[in-house]
Structures are given as C-alpha cells and as structure tokens.
Symmetry: C2
Subunit: 375 residues, 2 copies
C-alpha cells in the first residue's frame, strides 16, 4: 500500500506545484505562530495547541520550540503518529472507552508524557485497569460540559469523578472545559457571553473538586475563536487553540474580538482551471480536496463566486455585478478552505512556500503524519 | 511516512473490529454486484462502473470478473493506483489540462488500455502533443454538457471538437454524457425527465459528430440514480454507475425507479459509544470518518436521531416520540454513510465481513488503493 507522491519538489517555483495541493504560506504561518506564542506569554497562560488541526509532528515541534508546553489531539492514533515523529508531550483531550485502545494508551504512556480525559466511572475504571502494572503514569483530566452539549459530566459531578480517578491511584490533573460551538458564534459579544457562562460552570466544577478534598491543578480549554476570554478569566491556565496557525475561512468570518491578535490565512488549496465555458470555469478541486462542513472555500484574491462542483470539481462564476473576470483554462486558482482540520485530513503532504504564493519557491515538503489516524 | 494500521485481522469476530472502521457486508455487496451485472447483460449495454467511488483495484477486478468491460475514474492518480493494482482497462471520464499530468497520461497509456475525456481545443492539442512519439494509443471521448452545468461542450460543438481529435491522429471513441445532478432528484419522474432531456442533447451531439463526417462509436454515462433510463434510451451503450455496489443513504432516499434492481446497503462505518449522558450518546465517528456533503449518516437498525458532533464525534438522541432507547457506553453503532465516494476516501482499509454485521467474521482486509489520489 502506497501513499500518493508529493505534489512538488524542494526548490520548485510555485507554478510547478501539481494540483490540487495543500500549500502553506510559511511567512504568514510563522507570523501566526509568533503572535499566538507572544499572546500566551504576555498573558501568563500555557499554550497547548490542538494538533488535531495540523496532524504534523514537524508543526507540533515548531509550536513547542516557540513556547507551547505540548500539544492536544482527539484520537489515540494521532497521539501515536505524533509520538513516532518525536513529539514528547501529548494530551488526548477526549475519552477512550475501548479496552483494546486503552492497552495502547498504556504503552504510549511509557514512551511520552501523556494525558487523557475521562467523563465516566467506567472510563476511569478501564483506564486504571489498563495502566495497572504498566509502570507508566498518565495525567487524567475530568471533562465537564460547559455548553458544548457533547462529552463531559455536569459540573456538580466533577468532584465525584475526580475522587474515583484518585482512588484508582491515577494522577488527577485538572478539568477539561472546552466550548467548541462558542468558537463559531459570529458576534464577539455572543462569544464573550458563551465563555462567561462556560467559566461559571468551570468554577462550579472546580468547587465540586475542591469540596471532594482534591486539588485542581489546571483548567484547560479554549479555541481560536474565544481564547482571549478564557485567558482573561483568571481560571483557565492553558489554551488549546489550534486553527490560529493556518486560519480558515470560517474563523476569518467571525467579527473580530477586541484585543485579539490578528491571524492571517496561511493554508491554501492550489487548484487549476481544467474546463472553461463562457459562463463558468471549473477547477480540479472538489470536496475530496477541501472539507465543506463549515461551508465552501473562498477564492483567494479573485473576486469570484465558488460553487460546489462535487467530489472532484469546483465551479467559479462571476458575480451578477462587478468582481473579476473568469480565469482561463490552465490558470492557477488559490482556495482558502472553509475549515482547516478536515481539509488537512484529506491530504498526505504539506508544501511549504517561502516568498509568497506567486513568486515564491518550495522550501519544505512535510508529511501529514496523522492523516487518517481515526482510531 | 506510514499508513494507519488496519482496524482488524482476518478471522476476527465483528466485535473485535476497532472503531471507527469502514466495513463491507460482503454478502450484500455480492448481491448488488450480481444484480447490476445481470441488469446490464439483460439490457444489452456495457457496464463500466465508476471506481472513483470505491478506489479499490480488488473491487474493480471483481466487477470486471462479473462482466464489466473496465472501470471509470475521475483523476489520473486514481488510474495510476488502479493500474498498479492490476486493473487493465481504465477510462478517465474527466479532463486533464496540465502538461506535466498529460506526460503521465502518455506513460500510463503504455501500460493499460486507457481512455480520457476532452472538452476543449487546448485540451485536445496538449493531449496530442503528450501522446506524440510515446508509441502508445488512447481512446478520446468528447464530453458534452447534458444538464450537469459543469464540464463539457455544448452539443452543437461536439462535431468540431471530434474533428480536432481526429485531425491530431487520436482515436475518437465517442461522447461522454453524464448528468450527475439527475441522480439525486428524489422523484423518479423528475429523474426520467432529466434523462429524457439529456438524451435529446446527446442525440444532437451525436448528429453534430456525424455531420462532421465522423462515426460516433459510443455514448457513455449514467449513474446509480438513473441508469435505467439511459439503458432504455437506445442511445447510451455504456453505463458508468458506481454507487450501486455499496448504496449510500442519499441514493436510498430516492423514491424507487420502476423496473430498477433493488440494491442493499453494503457499506457501513462501525462506531462505538465513547461518552454517554442521560440525554444523549456520543460515538467516536465524526465527519473525519464519514462525509457529510450529501447529509448525515443514518443509524443502522436503531431508530435514533444522529446529529453532527464535529470532526471526531457523532451525537445520538432519542426521538421526541417513539423510537429506540439510547445505546450504552461501549456499545457498537453502525452508520450508513450519506455519500459513499468521499466517505471511502477518508479511510485506508476496507474490512470485509461475511455472515452479517452481528454474527459475522472478517473475511477480507483490502487497502483503498486510490485513497487520497487527488492528482
């Protein structure tokens, strides 16, 4: 079984990159990296970026070199792939309930500094059974539901579950308190209100833990849309934002948060016009090249409408009034993905370009190490 | 760079398949395979299934052993991957305009029987230049737009483009006339009307070719939603249906076409409940495990609502009235993908189960050869 060949060679001009390809504007990405690292440092919070977004050991290590304490992932398979790539501090910010998977967790905990979330007594019991006798240790966060409506126990139940973690001889590391939906509320005041509510719930959970006689070392959470509010809360000690590194169309569509650093688009799908009529142009990138769960990609620096053309095609049309003319057959068209995370997961390689998308050259070709790491 | 490990071993009981995993019910798939092969044979049309759907050399060869003349793909990279897997007759039913890609087309044409579509003079010129001196031959189809509104020339322009193909010394093989949107019209009468219109346009294109003094050996097209109509047209000589093999939720939601064979769901995502509250259950499969471009998956044989829980989670809730109770932590939940093609592209392995999803065993583990073959 083979992996598709990389779409470019080191030193290639941008024009030579085969399409569709996932391209990083390295200059823009490095500015995003520095802005977020500087923000966390300036506000006295730890940064543990979510590597579910980029799935790359190379990028995780760049983030850690810039000051991040480690990374988060959602899947054990992602953690294993990043560990294989030399990442030494990984938090699976999600539940693992399967016994066979928990045996792999125990093995991985012997290789890297590992943390994991639990939200059930059964999960804590099974984790403890898997870790027993492994000789390895693991940090355990109790996940609480702070408005996401997905995983996590009610705040009032956090103390009892933390007690169970401790009773098993596991290390209780704090509370996982992530509000995913708040990230995508367009209005900054709505985002602020959602996180105020999340902070109230997380404080209640913290009180429940304290009342159970257990210290709560850390509250961890936050994403690119709201981290300013978690950082300002005085409660959250660690931010999990990930998308800041690349910025997708969906996050850019949020109305800006006052005092938040400005992040630039740094991730693009390079596409090419492969069919052209008088009414529209068709590019060779469809939703097998860019995820559309958060909407369609935006055409970069061309004022054109993008319509979904199916798995392998995108359709460009002119606006009814104004905007740009249609590109010609063979022309390059750059797309800004609607949502970075699942877009990255569709590709095997990052092509890193230095010097911009037009005159630049290929400086790096990085494998997407945890692509397809679903398990 | 490594590929994720397969989620099961041969001989495993179904319960041992790790989650999320892409599972084929082999008994159901084989019935679908036979029904479609029997239909094509009984109606005197060639069957060339679209392998963009399954991306598997093994499945392509099974289809050919059952009578298919070859397979279609949408991407050159898919064709290369299937050729590597031993598939000897491949039609790229799509345009390739890039010069570097066309050089690869010429190489591949020396290895397998290859066909390709064109819809522009530039495309024909470049294809001819790439083939010149290669010593290989290729069949060229002129694509016409029969209502899809994507690629393809207008029917009246087919003759001139066919002349150009012939003038280059390339073999004109016929017309590519696929109406993708018609496949998903729910009402069978609307589907029939859309294909009547497509047939009218394809006849006009055929007349344009004939008027140009060129024989038109074949009209090829059709999909799982409409092939009964193309087959009955007396015009189409080849059917490109692909999804019949697995059947997704979206195709099953079509109201049935009279006289069409009945296809069964044969492709599933096996998932597991990894978080559970009193109000909902969360499974470990999100839209990194199943594509949602054609809507959410359906829960198989449990009467529950499925809500999108993001990249890595799916949320199950009870209906307001009636339906089933929520599954417990650790329970297996089978999902029927909304759309097969992009779902398959998210996975590296098919796990083939014999004897049903509950009592069966793993009989086959097949790589998804053209997974990620975007180029």
């Amino acid at each position: 079984m083979s992996v598709p060949a990389a779409p470019a060679r080191l030193g290639d001009p941008v024009a030579a990159i085969d399409t569709p390809a996932l391209v990083i504007d390295l200059d823009a990405m490095e500015r995003n990296l520095e802005r977020m690292a500087g923000y966390a440092l300036g506000h006295g919070v730890r940064l543990r970026p979510h590597a579910k977004m980029h799935k790359s050991a190379t990028l995780a290590k760049l983030q850690m070199a810039a000051g991040a304490v480690g990374v988060c992932v959602q899947k054990l398979g992602e953690a294993e792939a990043l560990a294989d790539g030399g990442v030494g501090d990984i938090y699976i910010s999600n539940e693992v309930i399967d016994v066979a998977k928990l045996a792999r967790v125990a093995v991985l905990a012997g290789r890297v500094r590992l943390a994991i979330a639990v939200d059930s007594a059964l999960g804590a019991d099974r984790l403890a059974a898997a870790m027993k006798g492994s000789g390895a240790s693991i940090d355990v966060f109790v996940e609480i539901d702070v408005g996401q409506g997905r995983c996590g126990v009610a705040p009032a139940a956090a103390g009892a579950l933390a007690q169970q973690v401790v009773a098993h001889g596991l290390r209780f590391a704090g509370l996982q308190a992530y509000h995913g939906r708040a990230q995508h509320l367009r209005d900054p005041q709505e985002r602020a209100a959602a996180i105020r509510h999340a902070v109230t719930l997380a404080r209640a959970a913290q009180a429940s833990v304290t009342m159970a006689g257990i210290a709560c070392p850390l509250v961890t959470g936050a994403g690119t849309g709201t981290f300013v509010h978690e950082a300002a809360s005085g409660l959250y000690g660690e931010l999990q934002a990930g998308s800041y590194l690349f910025m997708d169309r969906d996050y850019a569509d949020n109305d800006a948060t006052p005092d938040a650093p400005a992040f630039e688009h740094a991730l693009f799908v390079k596409s090419q016009v492969m069919s052209r009529s008088t009414s529209h142009a068709v590019v060779d990138a469809g939703h097998k090249s860019h995820a559309i769960d958060s909407g369609l990609p935006r055409v970069w620096q061309r004022d054109l409408e993008f319509a979904n053309g199916g798995d392998e095609h995108g359709i460009l049309r002119r606006h009814a009034v104004g905007g740009d003319t249609l590109p010609a057959l063979g022309d390059t068209v750059w797309l800004v993905p609607g949502h970075c995370d699942p877009t990255v997961n569709l590709h095997d390689w990052y092509v890193g370009v230095r010097g911009g998308l037009y005159a630049g050259r290929v400086e790096s070709i990085w494998p997407i190490d945890a692509r397809g790491a679903l398990r």
